[in-house]
Subunit: 220 residues, 2 copies
């Protein structure tokens, strides 16, 4: 589960990111509205936490632009209660929820979870690749109808491969999407997870393309 925080107050951004990571989410942070729009537009995030006062492009416009482009990623807006902006306006631009600073950590967490849950109920597509069926909303994987239990990271890696089934996905790309983009570790970690997935899903499920990356068998 991958979140994007668009917030220019660096201290706040850092503390939010820290807390959310502790809950097990992968979190990326950007400090500029335009940058935020591009990242959010990639379609790789499950939720965007969006400040309103931002350099580059303000939060209302970022959100409006996302919706105009047909992107329906859940957006949780943040703002200082200084009267200049109000809640109704935020919701009008297509935000899913709205939080006024200062807010407590617990409240934020509750809202984030509520949004993600709501999203889970709404139909996220179930990916079908070969004999696998990957339910993105429920985080469930079945192989030939039999459920396979995966850990969070295993699921995230498989999801990335499935989203681009048949294509080669490089280790760097998997790292970028599944781990925080600030992750500094060895990218041997990807190999470890691919190995685990093969053990659970069958060795033929994921093909190695030496020097290029991995490919989820789109036939098989």
């Amino acid at each position: 589960m991958r979140l994007l925080i668009v917030e220019d107050e660096k201290r706040l951004a850092r503390s939010l990111a820290g807390g959310l990571r502790a809950e097990g989410y992968a979190v990326d942070v950007v400090h500029d509205g335009l940058e935020g729009l591009h990242r959010a537009g990639e379609g790789t995030y499950d939720l965007v936490i969006l400040d309103i006062m931002l350099p580059g492009m303000n939060g209302y416009r970022v959100c409006g632009a996302l919706r105009a482009a047909g992107n329906d990623v859940p957006v949780l807006m943040l703002t200082a209660k200084d009267g200049e902006y109000d809640e109704a306006e935020g919701l009008d631009t297509g935000a899913d929820d709205y939080l006024t600073k200062p807010f407590s950590y617990v409240v934020l967490m509750a809202r984030v979870k509520a949004l993600l849950r709501r999203r889970g109920r709404s139909a996220l597509p179930v990916l079908r690749v070969g004999e696998l069926s990957i339910d993105q909303g429920a985080h469930r994987v079945e192989r030939d109808g039999a459920e396979v239990t995966l850990t969070a990271k295993e699921f995230a890696v498989l999801e990335q491969l499935a989203l681009r089934a048949g294509e080669v996905v490089s280790k760097a790309e998997i790292l970028e999407h599944v781990w925080d983009f600030a992750y500094e570790g060895d990218n041997n970690i990807v190999e470890v997870y691919v190995s685990a997935l093969r053990r659970k899903l069958g060795a033929a499920a994921i093909q190695t393309v030496r020097g290029a990356g991995y490919r989820l068998a789109s036939d098989a």
Copy 2:
């Protein structure tokens, strides 16, 4: 994969078209807004690169008109940063992304690919040369429908030849593109790979032009 460039600065248009063609896209160029609207409206393009300052009809209106007609082809807008237009306005009219001149080639390429990928399917076109089909995204090659497995280097060499099918490509050019730019070894290595490719693809697939280089048979 077919792109339309609507741009009245002929030099820029030509250079963009050249670069995109080199990546394997089919590219058409028009220099007038109205003409662009008609072509884009045909529904045969996978992406439109749209300048804002245009004779005939400006980019905002072209994009707005497309959307009003229910056409949701991805639109990447270009503009000079002269303050008269701003990014948010472009996105409001339904553009999917926006680039401020001057921009680097790499950035443009990244945005184009991001947009195409978001629109589903692979961003990279499948090259077809004679009886060969070369899927750049999947790193996969078929000859008359039968899959041929190539190594990373073999694939890269073939890709270079295919991107300029019918043309003679010198050994030096292949070396430069496929190997590290600082490669110091013998350029006999290219011969070795061509040899391997011929073994796998048939001797007639790659022609030698003595003293000049190699050519991928565009008929065959």
